[in-house]
Amino acid sequence: MTQFDMSKNEIKVAPNDGSYLLDGYELVCGLEVHVELATATKLFSASANRFGDEPNTHIDPVTLGLPGALPVLNRQAVELAMRIGLALNCTVQSSTFHRKNYFYPDMPKAYQISQYDQPINVNGWLELPSGKSIGIERAHLEEDTGKSTHVGGAGGRIHGSAHSLIDFNRAGVPLVEIVGRPDIATPDEARQYVTELRQILVAIGASDAKMEEGSMRCDANVSVRKPGAPLGIRCEIKNVNSVRSLGRAIEYEARRQIVLLEAGEKIRQETRHWDETDGRTHTLRSKEDADDYRYFLEPDLVPLDPDAAWIESVRAALPMLPRERRNRLAQATGVASDAESIMVIVERGQDDYVLAVGRAGGDVGRALVHVKEAFAEQGSNPAVPAGDLAGMIILETGGKLTSTQAKTVLGELVAHGGGDATAIAAAKGFEALDNSALEAIVNQVIAAQSESWAKYCGGEEKAMGALVGAIMKASQGKADGKAVTALLQAKRS
């Protein structure tokens, strides 16, 4: 079982002492993540790949599976799939397409074109921020289905509906299915995996990877076992629509299986549906009557065999990946690479900016803190010029601004898209109090608030708040809170 330091990580829910056990059982989980590729057109036809438009406005003979229609592979989809493979440390290999035959109204041809025994990407891994690696078995290309809307049933459910309506705008949209190995041992690792994967996909421009819009979808294969025991029977959890739900669904499912096992019952291999409203998984279909998909090589397509030059050009064009960017920022700031601030800044894509502030002379560690706190609404290209922020930080670290004043100046910089920190500070009348001036004010306040001072000296710590407030007021905000606290403590002892 893996270890990771929860104190450094915000995205944690389940208690974890390094060997995650639920009532004495280990969790074994593998994730299958489907991502819609950010192409202009569909995988096998020239209709637009666009979300949210009027139903059935992006259709063509191929999308609808009309008689006589033939698929032609989208080169850009292949290139994005290769980017994904290379970013996940996979081997990109020559591959083929198969037909997976099954009837469903949102599957127009009654078969899905997918990669089967020769996928484009195999044998990679994804490194979590904690440093643990999760194996990637394969990442293959396939086409998406249309969308069914169930009419007349309670809450849009299939059961009890009067009929269903089908929109084929999504049918044929290129997907890459990323099949992870069952290396995930905690619900938190599952969340980390999906969060990290999402960041990679966005960084390399392969997908917008929005779970809420369905451009990234996650199925979890969950089983439990006693430590050292053989793998248990697994269930596949579908319909998980957020990173938060993923952890909940996995934990619920593991506990459900443990309760059954403890009661001496057997786990049935099946597909289960996560219900967000009741926080449970429900049987969708049993695998006992296993689907017979009759896979065979798609005769309408030819093999996909990217040469080394193409693969290398895709590899060379990959941007720096989030993990690498976190390491770079961690090294520059001295903060741990999986600290929240580092994670947040890299996720926002503001790490280049933070480093630029450093190059402009500002302390990188302060830049990290300020950007994290004040630039949440800004994108990867903040409006404040890096030099301007550096100017403010230089004043702050040089003792010319208190931290409160620094925040005020920063607020001005953000509000006006930059500016000269020295001028702003002067205009605000910010000059740091020298120590004798501060001590005079402190003495003044102690005299005026003798009751609070007595309480504070008697050990009543909360009395200090009133004293500090009065001192700040008397100094018109120019006093540095930390210095005031230190002075009060020194005077008491």
Partner: protein, 493 residues
Amino acid sequence: MFRQSLDWTVEMTTIPSTAAAIADAVRSGALKATDVLEAHLARIAEREGEIHAFNLVTTDEARAAASRIDADVAAGRDPGLLAGVPIAIKDNMCTRGIATTCSSKILEGWRPPYDATVVQRLAAAGAVTIGKTNLDEFAMGSSTENSAFGVTYNPRDITRVSGGSSGGSAAAVAAGFSPISIGSDTGGSIRQPAALCGVVGVKPTYGTVSRYGLVAFASSLDQVGPFSTDVRDSALVLEAISGHDPMDSTSIPQGPLSLRGVLSQGVEGLRVGRITDMPGGADPDVTERLEAAFDALQAAGAIMVDVQMPSMKYGLTAYYLIAPAEASSNLARYDGVRFGMRVNAPDTNAMYSATRSAGFGDEVKRRIMLGTYALSAGYYDAYYGKALKVRRLISEDFDRAYTKADVLLTPTSPIVAFPVGAKSDDPLAMYLCDVYTIPTNLAGHPAMSVPFGTGAFGLPVGVQIMAPTLGEQTMFRVAASLERSMISSGGGR
């Protein structure tokens, strides 16, 4: 051959019987496309009742198209290689806005929203589509008896079948309804009806003519090709419809075939192969004509060589496992959801079964069942997988044979046209009609049937010329030589 009888006179204008002559006359202004059309419509009105070559005669659209050709000529625009030539299209090729049924109830009334590439190219070459011809349902059959809309009778003897599955297209040309027509050939569906009706029929190399818009039967075997009264017209049509199509991934990236220029080259020094271990079963009247063809080519300077094809006898088995397997998947899209017929039922699954059971005929159901079985879990290796290996053996047989011979000659069909109903109750007996035509589909090679005299009951016999991949030029030289020898021996003209 009945060439002379096909020339006739309309309003004092002589209409030539070949497409080449018609196109020349129309392009030069000597003949109006509208007159050509009316003459052919008149012939249809006269004999269609007893032959039933068409599922639909598109009189209005044809008249409009012919008028446009005449207007082009009047305006000095070249209307193309096939200017004003009436052409009949097998009813499994999509024609925009014009019913395309595949002779199946399941598609009755469906009007495709797009044109097949072949249909587009014919129109661009100035051909005038006069109708959609009858076929065995979804091209599954060898007699055009498996049509939901009735049998197509052989114009040479209307008590007999026209062959199949492109029986309507063969009969249309044989009856003089159009000088040329288009068929599709998956296991002999152009060549066998051509032989039975006494016309020329060509299956080009797989990938030479686009399959886009051809309703798929078996995607790795299907190929589109022409029917005509003489060899030159088939060359002409192929030149107009062949060449790379970016809408078909299996289309060979090369320009159109160039064939008319080689027709006069003769066969001096060409090596013509006789398959010494050819599967037996051809009737004596048929083998007699094959021997006559060998003699004629030898007399014209060709060299006779013996070749062995030890795996040819397994062709039927390989074909009747591979084609149904692909068909079972290709025909899954007829599900009553997006187009065509639907039989209502309380839920979607029941609707599927009700629709497909009512919409498909017996032979189609049989092949879907056979194909589904051959692909299903537990049987794939024994049937489909094995058939693919046998396909390789047959292809390797051809490769070896073509090191010794430039072309191979066989009968097209083991028998002449048989009486309607003679084989309807015995699917296997019907399958045996394809024994000589199937191997080239498995290998993807070109092959054509040329009328070469008559056999029993004075019925036409066809000789099949086979050539290696892209060996169309050699094949057409041999075909033209056989045609010349028939003319000089007084066999028809």
